[in-house]
């Protein structure tokens, strides 16, 4: 253990600890000292002077030339991301706080293959690395994704694969893949992270795939390395009909990253001497225009020099801040700095982790693998793992988005199934009612099946706690018809005035019903819908339903008018969406703008009202519900 490091670490631990401003006044009171106002004033002045001096010292320390500062307290340049993903000389992925240079997270159970590249998702919520021993191409290597949320294990996203790269818009993941038993990269794979599916490219005829793989800043172009007689970089247009082999990129230096699409790149120029005639590497910005007869190439813009050789360099999304690794030491540099600042030793690769953005899309609460989790859609990323749930639980969001109402699917009555409200921030639970299949309206009315005291339809107002029981078949009185065997509320209309539910009655089978929601919480004016129970329904708006039905192997989604035509038929609109798989659950957000379907097997498909499909969010899901935007992440 390095004693100096220990000393520095202990000091760094308490560097921000200062006495409270009224420390002496509190002490004086405890001393039971008769008032000596002059001395108290002097002391107050002295304490104030000490505090001001400490403040000034802090400001000076913060603003002085960063090149003179060294680990452990490096500079915090304005706007720089707060975290850096690094790989240690022990091959572990480690996340470092850029404000304190301390380790935040260490992923101990994984080993990063030497010399392989890291990829951080642009939303700062996950990263990809190559798990495996040494750099043997892609043989025996897997690409692992880790979410930066706690309690979420890593997932293997590709086997026999290497060199992950994520596009800046977060949509594409590219990597090289080997055929079994072959260390060479045989395929270049571009995976659509939102919709699934892959595009696979084979090497061009004039060489093999090399090591580098980078998306250009526009996310539409991919740069790969060709290792033939001459190592070369090629840029391909992912939206072109035949992207391969692409256009040569005229960079003479080693490519480290993209800065501006098609115009500026982060490069490493080898064998450059500094002012002291020491040989090293120059980290620079360069354009792609090569020298042509009669014209010089575009000069590169040297940013900073490091001792040979730079094994990793990465710029943040603003292109103002760079982290680089040279001779197993991590450095950072920001535009305006004269020299880079050394952060710590024992590092072989590094990349910025963008600061997590507040969710700009709605979030989903999902019952998955016996846990209640919050997903950020469409990034398919768990942002919070809330609490355990009984398998098969159904969930519905409460109006203010700070919780969900969950229903235990247990059919028994000893004890009866309970409906509970669960807080999303702390997982606290409070009982709502005894029943199953809760659905919550925009105003906080929970509808559910009462099972153990005659099968009927119950409602509870979350605000007042008032309960009501209604006959799901529309009979007068509060007792359910003896014919009813099963009631399952599906959804309230966006304005909260109608409830859609399924009733299974003896001798009739299952049918959809819509009832009016009265102020008392009772459901009345019930009418049966002429739609088969095998069709999944939910509200599209206050006057229309969304219907999803199977046309094997696809599911077709169409709009259906709530009003029934003269001949008793429903008016069916045009197809909104079609996708593979069979739907087991359909749900809309509270304002009817975003929709989701849980497919058999537990995959969630999400889409917008205009029919634009967004993505496949999760798998092994029992139930899911949209959350208001403020409750995500």
């Amino acid at each position: 253990m390095n004693e100096r490091k220990l000393r520095d670490a202990l000091r760094a631990e308490v560097v921000g600890v200062a006495p409270s401003a009224d420390a002496f006044a509190r002490l004086e009171r405890r001393l039971d000292r008769p008032g000596r106002s002059a001395q108290r004033r002097a002391l107050a002045v002295a304490v104030a002077v000490v505090l001001v001096a400490a403040l000034v010292a802090g400001v000076v320390a913060f603003t002085r030339d960063p090149s003179t500062r060294r680990s452990p307290a490096g500079p915090t340049a304005g706007g720089a991301p707060r975290r850096i993903l690094t790989v240690t000389t022990g091959h572990q992925p480690v996340v470092i706080d850029t404000r304190t240079n301390r380790v935040l997270v260490r992923y101990e159970s994984h080993s990063v293959a030497e010399g392989t590249q890291l990829a951080v998702a642009p939303d700062g919520r996950s990263f990809y690395f190559v798990d495996g021993e040494a750099n043997k191409g892609c043989q025996n290597h897997s690409i692992v994704r880790f979410g930066l949320a706690p309690h979420v294990p890593g997932t293997v996203v590709a086997d026999e694969a290497s060199e992950p790269a994520v596009s800046r818009d977060g949509r594409w993941l590219a990597f090289y893949r080997c055929l079994p038993g072959d260390a060479r990269a045989d395929q270049l794979v571009v995976r659509d992270l939102r919709l699934g599916g892959e595009r696979i490219f084979t090497p061009p005829t004039d060489g093999q795939f090399g090591e580098r793989l980078l998306f250009d800043a526009d996310s539409n172009h991919l740069i790969y390395e060709i290792a033939g007689p001459l190592t070369d970089l090629r840029r391909i247009d992912l939206f072109a009909e035949n992207p391969m082999p692409g256009v040569p990129l005229g960079l003479a230096q080693r490519l480290a990253g993209t800065l501006e699409s098609g115009t500026r790149y982060l490069v490493v120029g080898p064998h450059v001497e500094n002012s002291k005639q020491q040989a090293g590497d120059l980290v620079a910005s360069a354009g792609p225009n090569p020298a042509v007869p009669g014209q010089r190439s575009e000069p590169f813009d040297g940013w900073f020099w490091l001792p040979s050789d730079v094994t990793s360099a990465s710029a943040d999304s603003t292109t103002r801040h760079v982290v680089a690794v040279s001779q197993a030491s991590l450095y950072r540099w920001s535009r305006g700095d004269r020299t880079p600042t050394k952060i710590r030793n024992g590092v072989t690769a590094a990349a910025w982790i963008p600061n997590p953005r507040p969710p700009d899309h709605p979030s989903l609460a999902v019952a998955q693998d016996g846990r209640l989790r919050i997903y950020l859609e469409p990034a398919s990323e768990v942002v919070r793992d809330v609490t355990p749930l009984p398998p098969g639980s159904s969930i519905s969001a409460v109006p203010n988005g700070d919780g969900v109402v969950i229903g235990d699917p247990s059919p028994g009555c000893a004890p009866p199934a309970q409906i509970q409200r669960v807080g999303l921030t702390d997982g606290t639970r409070s009982p709502v009612a005894l029943g199953r299949y809760p659905a919550v309206s925009r105003s906080g009315l929970v509808a559910y099946e009462i099972r153990c005291d005659g099968v009927t339809l119950g409602t509870t107002d979350l605000a007042s706690g008032a309960n009501a029981r209604s006959d799901p078949l529309g009979g007068v009185g509060s007792e359910g018809s003896a014919r009813v065997q099963h009631v399952q509320p599906i959804a309230f209309s966006p304005d909260g005035t109608q409830l859609l539910y399924i009733v299974q009655a003896r001798g009739r089978g299952g049918s959809y019903f819509v009832g009016r929601v009265r102020k008392s919480g009772l459901i009345g004016s019930v009418r049966r819908l002429p739609i088969d129970e095998s069709t999944m329904l939910t509200f599209l708006d206050d006057r229309h339903l969304m219907a999803a039905y199977s046309r094997f192997p696809f599911t077709v989604v169409r709009r259906v008018a709530l009003s029934v035509g003269r001949r008793g038929h429903v008016q069916i609109g045009a197809t909104m969406l079609r996708f593979r798989g069979a739907v087991t659950h359909l749900s809309a957000d509270p304002i009817g703008r975003s929709f989701l379907a849980v497919l058999r097997g537990g995959t969630i498909i999400t889409w917008r009202r205009d029919g634009r499909q967004l993505g496949q969010v999760a798998s092994r899901v029992d139930s899911a519900t949209w959350l208001p935007p403020q409750s995500g992440g």
Binding site: M1, N2, E3, K5, L6, R7, A9, L10, A12, E13, V14, V17, A18, P19, S20, A23, F24, R26, L27, R30, L31, D32, R33, P34, R36, Q39, L43, A46, V47, V50, A54, R82, T88, T89, G90, V94, D97, R99, T100, R102, V103, L104, V105, R106, L148, A149, P150, H151, R344, N345, G346, V347, P356, V383, R384, V386, T387, D426, G427, G633
Partner: protein, 170 residues
């Protein structure tokens, strides 16, 4: 000042107490923070120590040494209290933290200081007094009321334990 000193040295002792406060209060708060892992408790420990030294001012030969020892003893007492109290409280299920919450919590507890906190009490005190307060072995021995040889032994074991946990690299 200070009723106990009013009849003896009076203003001169007041000044000495104030000087002791101004010069060492902040650093003692930081020392206590390292020992008790909680800034609020740390400052309370230091306040208690100053109250005690004030009450014995005319009998204390070296006020700084006395205060420092009182801080270490006070910190020890706080930790013991906390450990006992914890035994009677049902363990809470760990909070499900958002990524940023976890990051902030981890940032507050750097790996070295976390490792130091896991050392046995004596080793921890020796390490903090040696490497944070920069005391000599003799001063540590005096503060902790143990022999210089014991200090050496505890510090050495503490360093070895930290090396095992942290290694030489990250």
């Amino acid at each position: 000042m200070m009723a106990g000193m009013a009849g003896t040295s009076g203003a001169a002792d007041d000044d000495a107490f104030v000087a002791l406060f101004e010069e060492h209060y902040a650093s003692l708060v930081r020392l206590a923070r390292l020992l008790v892992d909680d800034r609020g408790s740390g400052e309370e420990v230091v306040q208690d120590a100053f109250v005690r030294v004030y009450g014995r001012w005319d009998r204390v030969e070296d006020p700084l040494r006395y205060v420092r020892r009182a801080v270490v003893n006070g910190a020890r007492s706080r930790l013991r209290h906390r450990a006992v109290a914890r035994r009677y409280v049902a363990p809470a299920e760990p909070d499900a933290l958002a990524a940023d919450d976890a990051a902030v919590r981890l940032a507050e507890h750097g790996e070295v200081s976390v490792a130091v906190r896991q050392l046995p009490r004596r080793q921890r005190e020796c390490i903090v007094l040696r490497y944070y307060a920069e005391l000599s072995e003799a001063e540590i021995a005096s503060t902790l009321g143990i022999s210089a040889g014991s200090v050496k032994s505890h510090a050495s074991r503490g360093i070895a334990a930290l090396s095992r946990v942290l290694g030489d690299e990250l």
